[in-house]
Symmetry: C2
Subunit: 133 residues, 2 copies
DNA sequence: AAGACACAATTACAGTTGTAATAGTTTGAT
DNA sequence: ATCAAACTATTACAACTGTAATTGTGTCTT
C-alpha cells in the first residue's frame, strides 16, 4: 500500500465508480458517472490514465478495449483523505471535528440512533482498552 | 461572503493562525507556525500574498510593516471545506461519514459523553423540527 | 544625503489538475 | 490487403501549488 498516491477531486469520481464495481471499461465508467458530470470522453480517459500512472488503477485487456480495476483500497484512501482533512481543517482534533459536524448536520432519527449505538459500544470497548484515568 | 475562495493546504496553515489571533505581522505568522513547518520566510510571504489576492486576508499598515487579518470567516471556510470533503469522499452522506469516523477514531470518555450529549439534544430538537415519519 | 536594513512586490519554475484535441494502433468488415 | 471504427497514448495548455530567489522601496543610522 506504499504511501497512497494523492487522488485529486476528479480522480475520486473515477475511483468511487471502480470501487463499487469492477472491472469496468472506460465506456462503462463514463456511463456510471453522475448525470450532472459533463466531462468529455477524452477527459475521463485522461483521468483514467493518470490513475494508472499513479498505480491506483490496473487494467486487463478484454477484446478490443481495456477493463480497469482498483489497485488501492477504498478504505485506505478514505482513511488517508480523512486524515488529511482532519489535520488541515481541525488540526487533527477528531472530537472537535465530530461535534462540529454533528451540530451542523441534519440527521435522521435512524442515523442518530445508529450513532448512539456506536458510541455506546465504543464506551465499553474503550474502557477495556485503556482503563480510565 | 461571495462563494469562498479556494484555500490550499499550505494556505490553511496561515489562515488558522490568523483566525486564532489577529492582526499579525508576517513575522509573527512565521513564528506561530507549527514547529515542524520548515518554510522559508519568502515562502510564507508568498502564501500571504496569494491569500490577499484571493481576498482571504486584508492588511493594515503598522509602522514599517503590514499587519494581516482575515477577511473570510473560519466558520464559513470550515463549512465549505467539510462539504467538499463530504462530497468527494462520501458522496455527501454525512451519516455514513460519521459512523465511519466514529469507528476509526480513538476518543476519550469525555469526548464520547460530549457527543452523546449532542446527539440527545439533536434528537429532541429534530423531533420538533420534522415530526418523525 | 548615502548606505544599509527590513519589508513588500515581482518573478521563477516545476509539478498537479482540469479540460481536452490530436495522433497512433488494433481489429472487424469488405 | 485496405479502410474505417474504436480504442489507447501522446501532447497541449492554462490555472493553481509548493517552494523560493530576486528586485524594489521606505526608513533608520551615521
Amino acid at each position: 500500500m506504499e504511501s497512497m498516491p494523492k487522488i485529486s477531486e476528479s480522480e475520486w469520481e473515477i475511483m468511487k465508480i471502480v470501487w463499487k464495481e469492477n472491472p469496468l471499461t472506460a465506456e462503462q465508467i463514463v456511463q456510471y458517472l453522475p448525470a450532472d458530470t459533463d466531462w468529455s470522453d477524452q477527459t475521463v480517459r485522461t483521468f483514467i490514465n493518470r490513475l494508472m500512472k499513479k498505480k491506483a488503477l490496473g487494467y486487463q485487456k478484454s477484446g478490443r478495449s481495456y477493463q480497469y480495476y482498483p489497485l488501492i483500497s477504498e478504505k485506505e484512501c478514505v482513511r488517508a483523505e480523512s486524515k488529511s482533512f482532519l489535520n488541515r481543517v481541525f488540526n487533527g482534533a477528531a472530537g472537535l471535528m465530530m461535534t462540529n459536524f454533528l451540530e451542523e448536520t441534519q440527521l435522521s432519527d435512524k442515523e442518530i440512533e445508529r450513532l448512539q449505538q456506536i458510541l455506546m459500544e465504543k464506551q465499553s470497548q474503550d474502557s477495556k482498552d485503556s482503563p480510565q484515568s
